[in-house]
């Protein structure tokens, strides 16, 4: 399946792009998408503990299953206001 990943702030900088497309095997979860992104980028992987994931605009756990066409946003701690 194919998902669209949106990254923000420090995570966007570490990923090198605000948006990338991932090809993942059927049955993949958020954690698998993260592993694919973090592969070869230890600095990104270090952010795992503070990163939240939003699937199609809703916060989800890293164990959440993904589906073809999903939008997955990876969100560092926020600093609005």
């Amino acid at each position: 399946m194919r998902i669209r990943v949106l990254a923000f702030a420090r995570l966007r900088e570490l990923l090198g792009a605000p948006e990338i497309t991932l090809e993942l095997p059927e049955g993949a979860r958020v954690v698998d998408a993260w592993s694919a992104l973090a592969q070869g980028c230890s600095e990104l992987d270090e952010q795992r503990a503070s990163t939240r994931a939003a699937r199609n605009g809703n916060l989800v756990a890293f164990e959440e299953p993904l589906a073809d066409g999903d939008e997955l946003a990876i969100l560092p701690p926020v600093g609005g206001g």
Partner: protein
């Protein structure tokens, strides 16, 4: 009125959300300070947002404020892009028949915006460096994988 904007915020614009029966309106504006929390002089801030989710979060926060404090009207506007010292980054307005509810709802709304609206800021320092700054409360409403606020992530500069 729930908006992410790129231009200067006029707090007076939020008054359009006040209803005819309201007797009190409380408006909070957050202003770019000349110094970071650690004292470093700042030239400005750069904000970015996950816009559709941020606006939905604004609406949810307003609905929660109405559940908690009763019949209040709420407006939330956050600016993104490059801001200079002294410019308004966010404005929150709450109005109600009586002032107590308006104060409580305005305070709740800005606290929750800072805690969980998907908005990020990068501080730009006078020495040319910059760093992303999370709010102490900015864990997006609870840790999925061990969230942690207030951290500094120094970026390239």
């Amino acid at each position: 009125m729930f908006r992410i904007v790129r231009e200067a915020i006029e707090p007076a614009a939020l008054e359009s959300a006040v209803r005819s029966g309201d007797g009190g309106a409380v408006t909070f504006v957050g202003i770019v300070r000349s110094r970071a929390d650690d004292g470093r002089p700042v030239t400005g801030l750069s904000y970015e947002a996950f816009e559709p989710m941020a606006i939905r979060e604004f609406r949810i926060i307003a609905a929660e404020a109405r559940e908690r404090f009763g019949d209040v009207a709420i407006a939330i506007v956050h600016r993104i892009g490059e801001l200079r010292v002294g410019e308004i980054a966010v404005a929150v307005m709450a109005s109600a028949v009586h002032r107590g509810e308006a104060f409580d709802a305005c305070r709740y709304a800005i606290d929750e915006v800072k805690r969980r609206a998907p908005i990020w800021k990068e501080e730009r320092y006078t020495d040319g460096t910059a760093s992303w700054r999370a709010n102490p409360s900015g864990d997006l409403g609870g840790s999925a994988a061990g969230g942690r606020g207030g951290a500094e992530h120094r970026s390239a500069g």
